[in-house]
């Protein structure tokens, strides 16, 4: 790296053009460059996302009328199971950390790569293996898994469908997620640029750091739990077989010890993205930097302690219901703090309603609805009525799709020019936003209403009194899909044939990714930057 001739040559050679040991496709799938790995993830995750969307679209279409509309009950059950597995394990859990985290975490903290580049590539292979297994399980004889993504025993032990492959896939995907989290934690601890103390670090790395801890600590618990279902199916161990003494409630505990924090694995990185977007497009420093940073940690901590609120109706002791409900309300507070701080950041800003900013504002709105309906579900007596109805389906789509989904979309529009050195069509991007935003609300809001009226979730059929809400919801899904089609078209067109740009800082950001070239060079920085100021100084605004 002291060789000047190499350094000069690099200045003009982006990571996209960089020639490593291999060229062509191998130059990508054997590359340990964090940016190339991010693109690999982007490609694969997008593909699975579109399959998941298609399944969701078909589920909604089936529910357009009572009785059979397009598919039978077994197909329907498989569809919502596979939709859940794909969307959660293949899209939202890896999504933001694997794509934007991989690409921007090292750049934002002034590092040349992550701490373990080869491990990073390995996680991508694990991810691909896991995702291929998920798809395989759908097509093998025996039939697609139909247990719901929650794999509740005893059903997941009894059903004749291809559970073992699906469970192994989830196990492998969990492992991939753990290793990504581990890599990020070590990267943040060891590879921050000189001068970048913890509180000079941008908020997206902060969010990834908190997420990393959740990934490392809780994911193995679902790993072992899923492994036990496999053992149960293969050997009949008896640990999860009620007729041999197995306790179905204990399974739910073990499952949710992971799967509730997993919600924060999905949401916290998206919150990190939004913190970046809000400051950049308000062109001012973030309001309450430390409050936002600490609230990420607080969410990670308390979020790991509230799993029982998925089980209020499962017959837990009153003590457990009391404790879990109480902590659930505690976790609402750091989320509220984030929302207030983001909103306060807008005050006296100079706001540009660029496409990413529209997604960021929509994110705050949708997340607020998701969070507030979460409060309703945390209320014991209301949850008894609302749990396992479409209310909760609406709630978690607002929370998960509204955050991770809109976070990914906003992030894509924000960073695509940086990642590929190409511009997208802003008009089209805005059109896609409005379709997505309006379609989203028409699709998911009716679920709150019919959930309160008692419509159970995961139901293939329903009583006629709920039909009107299902119809509205299905129409909403069509609008949403139009928005998605426009979004995908806009982004693919940008990457393939968008107008080239090499403008380093096209949106007035102040974090380090705006001080590297567009697209970044192979090692990001010619010289390791030395950090002296805070991450969002915006000195020009000071009086």
């Amino acid at each position: 790296m002291t060789d000047n001739s190499i350094a000069i040559k690099k200045e003009h050679e982006s990571y996209l053009e960089h020639k490593g040991k291999y060229s062509g496709l191998f130059g990508w799938i054997l590359s340990t460059d964090h940016k190339r790995i991010a693109i690999l993830y982007l490609v694969v995750i997008s593909a699975w996302f579109l399959i998941g969307v298609t399944l969701g679209f078909l589920i909604r279409l089936e529910l357009f009328t009572t009785g059979e509309t397009i598919i039978g009950p077994q197909t329907y059950n498989s569809f919502f199971t596979v939709h859940g597995i794909i969307m959660l394990f293949l899209f939202v859990i890896p999504g933001i950390p694997a794509i934007f985290g991989n690409f921007f975490l090292p750049i934002m903290i002034g590092a040349k790569d992550v701490a373990f580049p080869r491990l990073n590539l390995f996680t991508w292979y694990l991810y691909v293996l896991g995702s291929v297994l998920v798809i395989t399980s759908v097509f093998l004889p025996g039939g697609a898994p139909d247990s719901g993504w929650t794999f509740y025993i005893p059903y997941s032990v009894r059903t004749g469908t291809n559970m073992i492959i699906t469970l192994s896939a989830a196990f492998i995907l969990g492992f991939s997620s753990i290793l990504t989290g581990l890599n990020f934690i070590v990267t943040i601890h060891r590879m921050r640029a000189p001068g970048m103390g913890w509180f000079k670090m941008p908020l997206f790395p902060w969010a990834l750091y908190a997420t990393g801890w959740i990934q490392v600590l809780v994911t193995p618990i679902i790993g072992i739990t899923l492994l036990l279902i496999i053992f149960e199916r293969l050997f009949g161990v008896g640990l999860f077989d009620p007729s041999l003494g197995g306790d179905p409630v204990l399974y739910q505990h073990l499952f949710w010890i992971y799967s509730h924090p997993a919600v924060y694995i999905m949401a916290v990185p998206a919150m990190g993205v939004i913190s970046e977007l809000i400051t950049v497009y308000s062109h001012k420093t973030i309001f309450g930097y430390k409050a936002i940073a600490f609230s990420s940690l607080a969410i990670a901590l308390f979020g790991s302690l509230v799993w029982g609120h998925h089980m209020f109706s499962s017959g837990m002791s009153d003590t457990a219901n009391f404790v879990f409900s109480l902590i659930t309300f505690v976790v609402a507070i750091p989320s509220a703090i984030k929302v207030f701080n983001w909103t306060a950041t807008l005050y006296k800003g100079s706001i540009e309603l660029e496409p990413p900013m529209l997604f960021a504002l929509a994110f705050i709105f949708l997340f607020t609805i998701g969070g507030l309906t979460g409060i309703m579900q945390g209320t014991l007596s209301l949850d008894i009525h609302l749990t396992d109805t479409t209310f909760i389906v609406g709630h978690f789509h607002y929370v998960i799709f509204g955050t991770a989904g809109f976070g990914v979309f906003g992030g894509l529009y924000h960073w695509i020019p940086k990642m590929f050195g190409r511009l997208y069509n802003k008009k089209m991007a805005k059109v896609s936003f409005w379709f997505l935003f309006i379609g989203f609300n028409i699709l998911y809001f009716p679920m709150f209403v019919m959930g309160w009226l008692g419509m159970p979730r995961r139901s293939y059929d329903y009583l006629p009194e709920y039909q009107i809400y299902h119809e509205i919801s299905t129409v909403g899904s069509w609008i949403l899909i139009i928005g998605l089609v426009i979004l995908v078209y806009t982004i693919i067109k940008a990457i393939k044939s968008g107008e080239r740009t090499s403008e380093m800082n096209y949106c007035g950001g102040e974090t380090l990714e705006w001080y590297v070239e567009t697209p970044p060079t192979h090692e990001n920085f010619d010289e390791v930057p030395v950090i002296t100021g805070e991450p969002y100084a915006y000195k020009q605004n000071e009086l």
């Binding site: 309450g288 017959g315 008692g454």
Partner: protein
């Protein structure tokens, strides 16, 4: 609004209205601020931003106020739940057994039915069990739901104050015909009930 059929549903609905009210207030607050700031401090109108790094006073306020509010919500939810958690001692006990994909109700005299008949104004304790996989006993009109699972002893209770016929769902996904696992709760007068029970 769905039918209110007992004291319990009345208090749950009150809680629902209070909580929804608080939620709508906060949603409106945030939404109005988002829209107002986006317009008022738009780049065209306000080309130069002003840095505001934060305000400890505000942070404290918007930590403490939400904390108090959520603690209050937690408490009213718990009070309702507490009532649901303990069936009165004088309850009439009915055993509900769930299996794929039907309900079976066994009365103290051994009578078995697939529709749940109960007398009006009587505390009813439902003992819940399942023979195969997880199910859930759910009557929206009564705002009660409790999982019925193999190898566990769950129970819930209710008191129907109005005659009528109400839908009883299985709320926990249980396989192929989960959505067809619906039956009726029929609330009848004490006389009719005794006639039916001893028929």
């Amino acid at each position: 609004m769905i039918a209110q059929v007992s004291n319990y549903t009345q208090s749950v609905d009150n809680t629902f209205i209070i909580v929804t009210g608080i939620c709508v207030f906060f949603l409106l607050l945030i939404t109005v601020l988002l829209v107002f700031f986006s317009i008022r401090y738009n780049k065209k109108r306000n080309p130069k931003a002003l840095n505001i790094h934060g305000s400890t006073k505000l942070e404290v306020i918007w930590t403490i106020i939400p904390t108090l509010i959520v603690l209050y919500i937690f408490w009213i939810g718990w009070v309702d739940y507490k009532e649901l958690a303990n069936a009165p001692k004088d309850s009439m006990v009915i055993q509900a057994t769930a299996s794929m994909w039907q309900w079976k109700f066994t009365y103290s005299n051994g009578k078995v039915a697939d529709t749940l008949y109960v007398p009006v104004n009587q505390n009813i304790k439902m003992k819940l069990n399942a023979t195969d996989v997880d199910h859930s006993f759910y009557i929206p009109a009564f705002r009660i739901k409790r999982d019925a699972m193999p190898n566990t002893n769950n129970s819930t209770w209710f008191n129907a104050e109005k005659l009528g016929s109400y839908t009883l769902f299985c709320a926990e996904y249980c396989g192929l015909n989960h959505s067809k696992m619906i039956t009726k709760l029929k609330v009848v007068s004490k006389e009719d009930f005794n006639n039916w029970l001893n028929k």
